[in-house]
């Protein structure tokens, strides 16, 4: 027994399906050797945590974060995942990985040792490298601070619940969640968050508001209406107010946190917490395809090498490859299983293709990718791509005709005025560039999500908040959900709200939504 455990036959890292901590450590070390020395990956220190399926469901429910404040929506998510899982409609992910330092990978106890190996290569090295190196993560998220910040958030929310009541807190969180997708800064750098600073700053903000509390301000007398004559003056003054308020502002949560006239300190802090969490996930949303592609590519490379060197048995290799194949399966559009383009499949295919272009380029590749074709450094090229692109720019830069042919991509145009869809471009000479830029646009979050900004607020009058949706190609907002979100918004703003949908090119108002003042 102990002989085989210490030195598996023929230099294998492990034998059999059962895993233990020793085998995991051995596999990790062998993978690390390949990942760092041969693929040149650069990773955060790894922390691997073994969990049960129930804990995996818990992790799902709290959007994959190890700590989270309490909210019914997480309970709802848990209930749904639980129901799907119990009825066998959906398997659980083999792993969840958290962008933190150390990088925490959760692996399930049900996995076989072959799967654990795959998962470690995938999460602890693939995702980990991507988190540490991609510019969006470097710029936007603070891997060292996130766990501390979540601790702060959880404690703050539960303290608020004690002081203000669960209902009141829930109401604010509901509203903030509804605006979460529009609670990110897309362009500026936000300050790093850490627990001690956050706590100190929360305290400072509270003290400041106490010190500067001015009862008169609360019941300020409306200003005398301007005379008709100085309309220009008025317009100028309003422009100045807009400038001072930083309008237009696309981060709705940020604006509410800073400017909402009747929110209390703790409410602002709650909005801020939701905003920070939204911001934390923003890079993940923008790089999902690349991130999964990177992890899949890394596990594929590593497992092949482990197998070539006789470190894992044929059985383990085949088991891992079976799972790999399932993951990168892309159903066609007319397949019952089709649900959009599989990010694993596209990411993996593109990265395999980049490797091929670097080592065995064709004439076509030399024409399309002169700067990388045949450069003989596939891993360096990929590392550069992983570090400096997001899904949208990655597709725009690297989607090759060969991959388009492999996926047999085609583009369909859907105009509401026409009674049929029109095939606009297919995978041929004339269509490649069109397909590529169209697909890239789909990965652009700024386009996938409606472009909504706070345009104006009438501070001297009824404090009505005016939002503007710049509708591209005449695509309006979903009526029902828009109405519900505006209700939430008015809960925080407390005054009337107007949302105008205007055509992005002509500025013509297409539709308006209004909510009366909330009392």
């Amino acid at each position: 027994m102990s002989d085989t455990a210490l030195a598996p036959a023929k230099g294998l890292l492990f034998e059999g399906a059962e895993w233990d901590f020793d085998k995991i450590r051995r596999a990790h070390d062998a993978i690390e050797e390949i990942a760092l020395k041969e693929l040149g990956l650069d990773v955060y220190p790894n922390q691997i945590e073994v969990i049960t399926s129930e804990q995996m469901l818990d992790a799902y429910a709290s959007v994959g974060l190890p700590l989270m404040y309490r909210h019914w929506s997480f309970g709802k998510r848990f209930a749904r995942e639980d129901a799907l899982y119990r009825h066998g409609l959906q398997g659980l992910a083999y792993e969840i990985v958290i962008n933190s330092s150390p990088c925490i990978s959760y692996i399930m106890e049900e996995n076989s040792m072959a799967m654990q190996t795959l998962v470690i290569a995938h999460a602890a090295f693939g995702h980990n490298h991507f988190f540490k190196n991609n510019y969006l993560f470097r710029q936007w998220t603070d891997a060292e601070g996130i766990l501390d910040y979540l601790t702060f958030a959880r404690d703050f929310v539960s303290r608020c619940e004690e002081q203000q009541g669960v209902q009141a807190v829930e109401q604010v969180l509901d509203a903030a969640h509804a605006l979460m997708t529009h609670g990110v800064h897309r362009y500026a750098r936000r300050a790093k968050a850490n627990l001690a600073d956050e706590r100190r700053r929360a305290e400072e903000r509270r003290l400041h508001s106490e010190r500067t509390y001015d009862d008169l301000w609360e019941r300020v007398v409306p200003k005398r209406q301007a005379q008709d004559g100085d309309a220009e003056e008025v317009a100028k003054a309003r422009a100045e107010i807009r400038r001072q308020l930083g309008l237009p502002e696309e981060n709705l949560l940020y604006f509410l946190e800073k400017r909402a006239p009747r929110m209390e300190g703790w409410q602002r802090e709650l909005v801020r917490i939701v905003r920070h969490i939204s911001q934390y996930f923003y890079p993940q949303k923008q790089t999902r395809m690349m991130n999964e592609g990177c992890a899949t590519f890394v596990h594929y490379e590593i497992l092949n090498r482990l197998h070539e060197r006789g470190l894992i048995s044929d059985g383990a290799y085949l088991e891992a490859m079976h799972s790999h194949t399932n993951v990168v399966f892309q159903p066609e559009y007319d397949d019952r299983r089709y649900n959009g383009i599989n990010p694993y499949a596209l990411g993996f295919a593109m990265m395999q293709d980049i490797k091929r272009i670097c080592t065995l380029p064709t004439e076509e590749d030399r024409e399309w990718f002169p700067e990388i074709a045949g450069n003989g450094d596939p891993y360096g090229t990929l590392r550069d791509a992983w570090a400096n692109y997001r899904d949208e720019s990655f597709v725009l830069q690297y989607l090759s005709p060969r991959v388009m042919r492999q996926f047999r991509l085609f583009k369909v145009l859907d105009e509401a005025t026409q009674d049929a869809l029109v095939v606009d471009a297919i995978h041929d000479e004339r269509g490649y560039r069109e397909l590529r830029s169209a697909l890239a646009r789909h990965y652009d979050l700024a386009r996938a999500e409606p472009d909504i900004q706070i345009a104006d607020v009438d501070l001297s009058g009824d404090r009505r908040l005016i939002l503007r949706h710049a509708a591209h190609d005449g695509v309006l907002l979903d009526e029902a959900s828009c109405k519900a979100v505006l209700e939430h918004l008015s809960m925080l703003w407390r005054y009337a709200i107007l949302l105008e949908e205007v055509d992005a090119t002509t500025d013509k108002v297409l539709k308006t939504h209004e909510v009366a003042a909330h009392h």
């Binding site: 691997i48 019914w72 209930a79 129901a83 829930e170 105009e415 509401a416 095939v423 606009d424």
Partner: protein, 431 residues
């Protein structure tokens, strides 16, 4: 690298979130449950209950683009025959849409939300707004209803209530304040004596010896634990009002009851049983079944034994009153009764039933519920046949007495609504 085994971590991390979710969706879940209950069997144990609720109260709206209208394009894999310029009929429901959408969260919300309730959650919700009406007669019992409540510490008590922590704390304080030498100090003095003796320093040895003896004397005088240190946990007996209630379950098992009717009756009583045992710790349940004669039986016999015969309803009422007189003094007990029958009775017995009810049972009962189980066939098509003897008899009683309610049940799916009606908190007493 670090491998951590998180499996032993406490379970149910998202339980509070789940409770909040259930609380929020309570109303919808109850509606859904009433639907689901129609398909459910009584006493179905183990697995949870799958419910599906409309999602508007628990929706999480976000600002998103409409799924239709305007000009849009999709990039889709798997082209087989299309060339540029081909026209495709617009698919219904936009099934083909969302070509390259970035995340699945963008997808719309489902119209209904399906999940599984555990049996515990299910029963809690089901019995949530039910109660025994008019549970008023409270009697403070001498024995059972005294409750022990912690009330600080006392200097006297039984050894089993000794508070070791408090006692040692007092002892420690006393030892410090009276400067009792510690064992270490004594050991040090002994060492001094020994070294002095070894060094042949008689004077020093004597001094040390004196100091040692003084220390030993002191440590004898100041005991380690003194009776003044001892503290006991103190408990106070708080009288707790104890509501006593008894539920009489009267079931007709006579030959006129078909198997299906008996099944309905049993289902009703099972539900009642589960309700009472879950919600009221101190409710006695008395099972009485009757044919042409009545007897008190135990739970198992009541639900499971098969026996048939003629029908004399009044025997059950007599038996109930006998038990009341023997064991449940109406001054001290809240008395409830539920009766299930197919309504058949010897015609000459009905008057006796009515007088028993009006003069003996209802005056001492808080609430009497009668359900009449009917054959499915008679009720399914059009109106039920003429009211039964018992129904007619009881109708008169129901009009005269507020604490009497009667319902008809013809189908398993009606049991739950009827049960709810009979025991809901806002029960209309006038009905």
């Amino acid at each position: 690298m670090n491998v951590i085994d998180r499996r032993p971590n406490p379970k149910g991390k998202s339980l509070p979130n789940r409770q909040r979710f259930l609380e929020r969706a309570k109303h919808e879940i109850k509606d859904a449950m009433t639907e689901a209950l129609k398909r459910r069997k009584v006493g179905q144990n183990g697995s949870g209950e799958k419910v599906s609720i409309p999602s508007h109260r628990i929706s999480e709206p976000v600002l998103r683009k409409a799924s239709q209208g305007g000009k849009r394009d999709y990039v889709v894999p798997g082209n087989k025959e299309f060339v540029v310029g081909d026209r495709i009929k617009r698919p219904q429901g936009g099934g083909e849409g969302s070509g390259g959408k970035a995340s699945p969260e963008d997808g719309g919300e489902q119209d209904s939300f399906e999940f599984v309730l555990t049996r515990e959650e299910f029963l809690n919700l089901f019995f949530d707004d039910l109660e025994l009406p008019d549970l008023v007669k409270t009697k403070i019992n001498d024995q059972d209803s005294m409750q022990l409540v912690r009330a600080g510490y006392s200097v006297a008590g039984s050894p089993s209530a000794l508070s070791v922590k408090r006692t040692l704390r007092n002892s420690f304080a006393r030892r410090i304040s009276l400067s009792r030498p510690t064992p270490r100090e004594i050991a040090a003095l002994e060492m001094q004596v020994k070294t002095a003796l070894e060094a042949d320093d008689a004077e020093a040895a004597e001094q040390s010896q004196l100091a040692l003896e003084a220390a030993l004397r002191k440590s004898r005088r100041v005991p380690y634990i003194d009776p003044v240190d001892v503290r006991y946990n103190r408990f106070e007996r708080i009288p707790k009002p104890n509501t006593q209630a008894v539920m009489f379950c009267l079931m007709d098992v006579s030959g006129s009851m078909t198997e299906q009717m008996k099944d309905l009756a049993k289902r009703f009583f099972m539900l009642l049983h589960v309700f009472l045992t879950r919600r009221y710790k101190h409710v006695d349940i008395v099972f009485i079944r009757h044919t042409s004669s009545a007897q008190e039986v135990d739970e198992d016999t009541f639900f499971h034994s098969r026996e048939t015969g003629g029908t004399i309803v009044s025997t059950a009422l007599d038996e109930m009153m006998r038990v009341v007189r023997a064991r449940y003094n109406p001054d001290n007990w809240n008395i409830y009764a539920a009766q299930a029958s197919d309504g058949d009775n010897y015609t000459e017995d009905s008057d006796r039933c009515a007088s028993l009810m009006a003069q003996q049972i209802l005056p001492v009962s808080q609430y009497f519920a009668y359900i009449e189980v009917g054959a499915e066939a008679t009720l399914r098509h059009g109106y039920p046949s003429a009211p039964t003897d018992l129904w007619r008899t009881y109708e008169g009683i129901a009009q005269a007495h507020q604490n009497f309610a009667m319902r008809k049940v013809a189908d398993p799916s009606q049991i739950f609504p009827v049960f709810h009606e009979l025991f809901s908190k806002q029960r209309e007493r006038a009905a």
